[in-house]
Amino acid sequence: MSGLLNLLIGLAMGLNLVALGTGRLPSLIRIAALQGMVLGIMPLVIEAHDWRMMVLVIAAATVAMKGLVIPALLRRAMRTANIDRDLDPLIGFLPSLLLGAAGMIGAVVLARRLPLLPEHHESLLVAGALASVLTGLLLLIGRSKAISQVCGYLILENGIYLFGLLLIHSTPLLVEAGILLDLTVAVFVTGIIVDRIQRAFDSLDTRKLTVLRE
């Protein structure tokens, strides 16, 4: 069980690096979606001995929201805003890839130093969570297109979800559902704002959003 779970987390961590290295917006969205789906099936792996209704619902909802609904919303926003699909990085692909890899190694080292329960010692959950949070932050800072920043936010959120899996036995379904719902609405709202920004500024480059400064 732990082996398969670690494999999935390793996959998610690999996707982090791919996300940092990719230069195209549609592929970034696809990576975020794929990572969401990988995360979605993790509860099934963790609870493999006992598939309660709740676990199944969480898994299905996560896969549906993170893997299908949110990417579809983003793609729609991308299409309606009719934007250039190349990502203009503020932090180059190479530096962000190296930073991401360094962050990943740092996350693994840090996760080993944190006090963990015995059953989580061999698991990569904490390391994967930290690495994804770092990747998300890097994307938020290092990409200038509005939608790519949203993808960064999604990956950040994925990292937090990974951490939440540590608490899967104690977090009630209601909370998980609420978090997912909030996330989806957030992306929906962002999609609308992205559209408006496109109309108002004739560009989705957030570097142009510089009217307001001190």
Binding site: Q149, Y153, V175, I179, R196, V211
Partner: protein, 480 residues
């Protein structure tokens, strides 16, 4: 049951407003729901229920000490909203009214959340429901501000979710069940794993501190307050920040129970003083009177966090200050909104002589300025005095001195801008605007009422409020 009504009355009103067909009469939903909400909130405060409604959720003393202030502020904003939206008849207000009402319901939910996950969900929902309010003006600048609000606020709130999970893991690691209700976490006390509690505290403070607008996480604030309509700015500065402050206090109580209260107090003290310093410095160079209000809000968040850091009487004074902050911010933002509409500009380079053009709003603005800079006999004077006294009493003399220094700088900064726009000769642009904008009683009365409340709070603090604050302090620090 009343607790649920606090949430569902505004939400149902929001739904009804979203379906209401008429643009002209729709704003009346605001004061109607606001009045009902205020009656419910004060009813709950005066006649508290025997026990909290549910383990996850209920009107506990902390919620009772905070929520009525927000409710009152909302009522003031709602009363102002009707004439304001009539002035802006050219803009469809369906989303605006619905979002405003939904924000109130969700803020009530966030105040009453006794479960970390629920608290997070409600806070995030408040953030999202206030997004359409921010870009009501539909200008590119408004969208830019909204984007920053979404991005900075979203990241902050995401970190606070991570912090919530860390706190849950602290409970698991300490042998608990990982129950995320505050009561269960506090009951577990020192059994919570200390490293995880500290990590959680940092993340949660950064997360909810971003919502509060503590420096250095305040960057979204000037933009959002500057571009949003005054009524939204008032609600953000007096309502949403209160939600975040309540969240910080609840988390802090858990950290306290876990035996890391010293660390928590020190971080709150430092971050509070830093916020005040940053705000004071930016106030000294502010030229835009709406952005200025944002820095003033950062400053007051710093004061709140200082009060919370000191604890005991300081905490009590912080509750007092929450009320004062809500009332004075309401008066300031609403009167500033009037000035802004009449002047057609926002910086001291474009605007002057407002005492001639809109004498009543200008007078209100100046009076509110004195209130917010803690001049007696307004409420903020007494709450800040109490905070200074308790800071001295707990042996943080240097912090108190720093605090007073920042207050002085902020006073200079604020008065410089305010007098520049209020006195002097009106500009040509403003004279032309003058014909279109009439200062009716309906837009002057709500800020005046809020200001009077701030005055009343200072001159004669009602006993019921004092008791509510004492009860809240007792809830947060069970063993004084």
């Amino acid at each position: 049951m009343k607790e649920l009504l606090l949430i569902f009355v505004p939400l149902v009103a929001a739904g009804a407003a979203a379906l209401w067909p008429d643009n002209r009469t729709r704003p009346w939903f605001l004061p109607a729901a606001g009045l009902a909400h205020a009656l419910l909130a004060f009813g709950l405060m005066l006649r508290p229920p025997e026990s909290p409604f549910h383990a996850w959720f209920g009107c506990d003393p902390l919620a009772r000490a905070m929520l009525p202030a927000v409710s009152l502020l909302f009522l003031g904003c709602a009363a102002y909203g009707v004439p304001y939206l009539r002035l802006r008849a050219e803009r469809p207000n369906r989303v605006f009214v619905a979002g405003f009402l939904a924000a109130l319901g969700l803020m009530s939910a966030a105040h009453m959340a006794r479960h970390l996950g629920l608290l997070w969900i409600a806070t995030e929902a408040v953030t999202l429901s206030s997004v359409p309010l921010l870009h009501f003006n539909n200008t590119p600048r408004a969208f830019e501000a909204t984007w920053k609000y979404l991005l900075v606020g979203g990241t902050g709130i995401a970190l606070s979710l991570l912090g919530s999970f860390c706190l849950g893991y602290a409970s698991l690691h300490g042998g608990g069940a990982g129950d995320l209700t505050f009561a269960a976490l506090m009951a577990q006390g020192t059994a919570l794993s200390r490293p995880w509690v500290l990590i959680a505290w940092v993340l949660l403070l950064v997360g909810y501190g971003t919502k509060m607008g503590l420096a250095p996480m305040h960057t979204w604030k000037p933009d959002a307050y500057g571009e949003a309509p005054g009524i939204v700015g008032a609600m953000l500065a007096g309502g949403v920040t209160t939600v975040a402050f309540t969240a910080v206090l609840r988390v802090r109580a858990v950290v306290d129970a876990a035996g890391a209260g010293e660390v928590a107090s020190r971080t709150l003290l430092v971050i509070g003083l830093f916020s005040m310093l940053v705000a004071a410095l930016f106030l000294l160079s502010a030229r835009d009177f709406k952005r200025m209000l944002a820095y003033s809000s950062v400053e007051h968040m710093g004061i709140l966090s200082l009060g919370a850091a000191v604890g005991g009487v300081g905490l009590w004074a912080a509750f007092f200050h929450v009320w004062n902050n809500s009332m004075t911010k309401g008066a300031l933002f609403l009167s500033a909104g009037n000035l802004r509409r009449a002047a057609g500009g926002r910086t001291i380079d474009e605007v002057s002589g407002m005492s001639v053009i809109t004498p009543r709003s200008a007078a209100l603005f100046v009076a509110a300025l004195f209130a917010v800079t803690a001049c007696p006999p307004f409420g903020p004077f007494f709450s800040e005095l109490l905070i200074v006294k308790s800071t001295f009493a707990t042996g943080h003399g240097w912090a108190a001195a720093f605090f007073l220094g920042c207050l002085l700088l902020a006073f200079f900064g604020l008065t410089r801008v305010v007098f520049a726009i209020v006195y002097g000769r009106p500009r040509q642009a403003a004279r032309e605007m003058d014909h279109r904008y009439r200062e009716t009683l309906a837009v002057v009365l709500p800020p005046a009422a809020l200001l009077l409340l701030a005055l009343g709070l200072g001159l004669a603090t009602p006993n019921a409020l004092r008791e509510a604050w004492t009860a809240a302090v007792r809830q947060l620090s069970p063993t004084p």
